[in-house]
Amino acid sequence: MSAQPNSSAPAPAETSSTASLAIAWLFVGIPLVWGVAQTFIKALALFQ
């Protein structure tokens, strides 16, 4: 879903490609998944 043109604050058009979206989510997703995986491995000790 993209920003619609507006009358009060004209701003230059900027295209958000699928690739830039994917890169943005990977940038934050990879460390988050790594942290969750580390915690999950630690949590497994409870069930051993």
Binding site: A3, S7, A11, E14, V28, P31, F40, A43, A45
Partner: protein
């Protein structure tokens, strides 16, 4: 100054074609970084053995656990205070400048802290990581909130839940990262702490830059394509806008302050006691020889709680979009009262699986409480200065951060002094927390629509450029 102008709100207004789904990762970049604060305990033992070099045998001049504990306490108090003080500034200058300020303070706090470790100056460590870093935490925590609400008027809970979930995830990244760095630097500096602080300060500053330069605000008249505000009347969702200064004059603000305070204080009761609670309640004496919960298993339990804290932030906040905020908090408190009251009984009866399940649900609602509050505020006060209002409400978190551990430690020690052991030593802790949730439930039930006299008159706009 050219660089300063790039940080102005006017330079962050999204143009046509900008995809609003770029905003949550920008927010996550900030929250994943500052969430490291919850992993500070990983530094406790190394900081307490800088002189002796042996974490199990501190030297005479080494810092005590209580002295080190104040570093985190100062940071959390400053989080609440700075969020309250800088909230209206943030609304004026926009999220990019606020995120940059947060990155400078948070990263800078690590660097000053590193100097404090190097010089073995506790005051410098308090000032660096606690005071300066704490300001970075507060500004960073609220920086993306109002922007997300403006981009996602149709999914406020989902959007803010995603960002605040990042704060929970930050500790999961920060803890193993710090352990790995300290191990790497252990031969070049006492416990490897000082260089670890330097590297983490730089890494977090750079990571947060992604958020700084990706964030955009929507134009004032922007709405998602095809978005039609619900015509279904709900007394608790305002069409007006209340300023931060007026919001604190309303009973609704203070009721939500009590709601947040009680939910967080109760949650801290579980988090503070998690490891000793499960070990003492399910020891060899109660479970049978060799079947008690070990130290490693207890650490696993703490890890599991962290996961549910993270998942609860997204799950409950998203669910509140469908259920409504008041109903969601009624679940946190109503179900919470039952579950908190059940914990000592499960411990007493040695029902480990149920005990773990109940604790996980409790912690998911603790996280959910944090993540749902911005949307609740937006429903009641409008989106005009919701970031600033949220900032002022976070003083409840700071209060709970001090109050929670005090209550838990006092009640637990009192029971132990009376001769109670195992799960019984924690009985009054959990019954007291259940009582606190009753107060929260009543406060939530008392929330009604904000009187229209507090609304801003006429259309509200935010000053471009922040001047």
């Amino acid at each position: 100054m050219a660089n300063a102008s790039l940080l102005d709100r006017s330079r962050t207004i999204a143009g046509p074609g900008y995809n609003r789904w770029l905003v949550p990762p920008a927010a996550l970049a900030i929250h994943l970084a500052i969430g490291q604060a919850y992993a500070f305990s990983v530094f406790k033992k190394p900081l307490g053995a800088l002189l002796s070099g042996d974490v199990d045998h501190p030297a005479a001049g080494d810092w005590s656990p209580a002295q080190i504990g104040w570093i985190f306490s100062i940071a959390i108090v400053l989080l609440g205070l700075s969020a309250a003080i800088f909230g209206t500034w943030l609304e004026r200058v926009g999220p990019r400048k606020a995120m940059m300020a947060s990155a400078l303070c948070f990263g800078g706090g690590f660097l000053i802290g590193s100097l404090g470790v190097h010089l073995h100056s506790l005051a410098l460590l308090y000032f660096g990581y606690g005071f300066v870093g704490g300001i970075g935490l507060g500004i960073g925590y609220i920086s993306p909130v109002s922007t997300l609400i403006k981009w996602f008027p149709d999914r406020k809970g989902v959007a803010t839940g995603m960002a605040i979930m990042g704060f929970g995830g930050g500790a999961m990244i920060g803890s193993p990262l710090a352990v790995a760095l300290m191990a790497h630097f252990k031969d070049s500096a006492p416990q490897g702490v000082a260089p670890t602080f330097i590297v983490m300060g730089i890494i977090y500053f750079l990571f947060m830059q992604f958020g700084v330069w990706t964030i955009r605000v929507p134009a004032d008249d922007w709405a998602p394509a095809g978005y039609v505000p619900s015509t279904e009347h709900s007394a608790l969702i305002t069409t007006g806008n209340v300023s931060a200064d007026n919001a604190i004059k309303t009973p609704q603000f203070w009721l939500l302050w009590v709601v947040l305070l009680t939910n967080v204080t109760a949650g801290i009761g579980v988090l503070e006691t998690a490891s000793p609670l499960i070990q003492e309640s399910f020891s060899d004496a109660t479970m049978g020889a060799g079947r008690g919960v070990t130290v490693a298993a207890a650490a696993g339990f703490v890890g599991l709680l962290s996961l549910f804290n993270l998942l609860g932030r997204f799950f409950w906040s998203s669910a509140s979009d469908k259920l409504g905020r008041k109903v969601t908090y009624a679940i946190y408190f109503g179900l919470g009262i039952l579950l908190y009251a059940l914990v000592p009984t499960l411990g007493h009866n040695a029902q480990l699986t149920l005990f773990v399940l109940v604790a996980c649900i409790i912690i998911s609602m603790y996280g959910g409480g944090f993540a749902t509050i911005p949307a609740y505020l937006s429903d009641l006060f409008g989106k005009y200065q919701v970031g600033a209002i949220h900032g002022r409400l976070l003083t409840a978190w700071s209060t709970a951060g001090v109050l929670g551990p005090l209550i838990v430690n006092y009640l637990h020690e009192s029971r132990k002094a009376e001769g109670f052991t195992g799960a019984a030593a924690y009985q009054t802790v959990f019954y007291t927390m259940a009582g606190l949730l009753v107060v929260g439930l009543l406060a939530n039930l008392a929330v009604t629509a904000v009187n229209e006299k507090y609304n801003e008159k006429g259309p509200v706009t935010i000053q471009p450029g922040g001047h």
